[in-house]
Symmetry: C2
Subunit: 208 residues, 2 copies
Amino acid sequence: MQHSLKTLFPNFSAELIATIEEKGNAQDFKAGTVLMRTGQYIKNTVLITKGKIKIYREGEDGGEFLMYYLQPGQACAISMICTAKSEKSQIMAKVVEDVSVMMIPLQLMDKWMMEHRSWYEFVIETYRSRFEEILEVVDNIAFRSMDERLEFYLKRHSDSCGCSEVKLSHQEIATELNTSREVVSRLLKKMEQRGLVKLNRNQIELLK
Amino acid sequence: MQHSLKTLFPNFSAELIATIEEKGNAQDFKAGTVLMRTGQYIKNTVLITKGKIKIYREGEDGGEFLMYYLQPGQACAISMICTAKSEKSQIMAKVVEDVSVMMIPLQLMDKWMMEHRSWYEFVIETYRSRFEEILEVVDNIAFRSMDERLEFYLKRHSDSCGCSEVKLSHQEIATELNTSREVVSRLLKKMEQRGLVKLNRNQIELLK
DNA sequence: TCCCTTCTGTGATAAATGTTACTGTAGATT
DNA sequence: AATCTACAGTAACATTTATCACAGAAGGGA
């Protein structure tokens, strides 16, 4: 049983929750589904109630450069922003763990801004936190070398899942950092030698 | 004589303009002034009526990684977002050409969202366009090599000033791209050989 | 078990970028 | 004019990252 809107979005007013439940469109998607792709028009804002969605930027060569993850209790800032103007999306969104979402049509998203203070605050806070997250991404690629970025990536991953094991292949990590598998393997090996991680097949255990 | 608010912000309603003129705090700053620094709390939103402000991310080594420029008719999205929560700034803002601005205290910024439709739309649009601009920055550093980034940088510059001459030293460019002066010199020389630019002291002329 | 695929490790090498060191030049200052 | 300073060019070298090549290990299915 998935958590209720009330639990996931504790700051929403009771009326807002009722409105979402009435007007929102609950949907489920399987892992691997691409919910949004570059150039597509956005017609809905998405509230996540279960699962995990990856927001990334697609390179010409098929790279999937990770921006951030969406998890229960969160919403897609980009879809909110673009929705307000019915603009094309500049990013890709792919389901990485089966999700349940509430789809909010764009007119409602806009309308509620005026009617529900808690919705307004949620939207602003979503913008703000995602903006910061992207700034951090910029910092990393602008100022840090690959080994630091890899460490940061692993930390972010384990934070996001709440456990110390990252269940990904070196190839998947390389794709999200836009580098090659060999580089990731090498750097991970060095980290293991420094005692920072323990490497297993399809799994990296963070030790510190 | 600087342009009127009405000309610079054509979508603002007459009442909104009147309100801004009444409640806003007009100020001037000289080139070189740092208006906002990392870690500082933000108390105002800034509308630019004249001049140019550089928004950048500061590296530990003093690098000034360029995010984007603010020009007349624009506002600082970050300050808007942070203002709404009275949060710390994650970026730096430095005046690059003497500016005139209207400072809008945070309570008003928030209040107007409900009272003035044209303000609401302006804020949302500001978020959206800056978000996209940063996504483009991420694209560039994640997927492009330095020569492409340099070309993009020069193009963006000449677009922003509306002329084909970029009046910057190689060192300044290097700082904003977080690389070294020698690398910029080398790449510019190659571009000159390819007939893309003409190099002069403190000035680069774009030919195509 | 044997085979097959995927994942991982690693050396050799290439390419891009960063660093050091030095030179020359244009313009400003005296 | 003589000097000074910021800017620009460039060679040599170091470092980081990417690419190629290949081998071995783990796990899944026939």
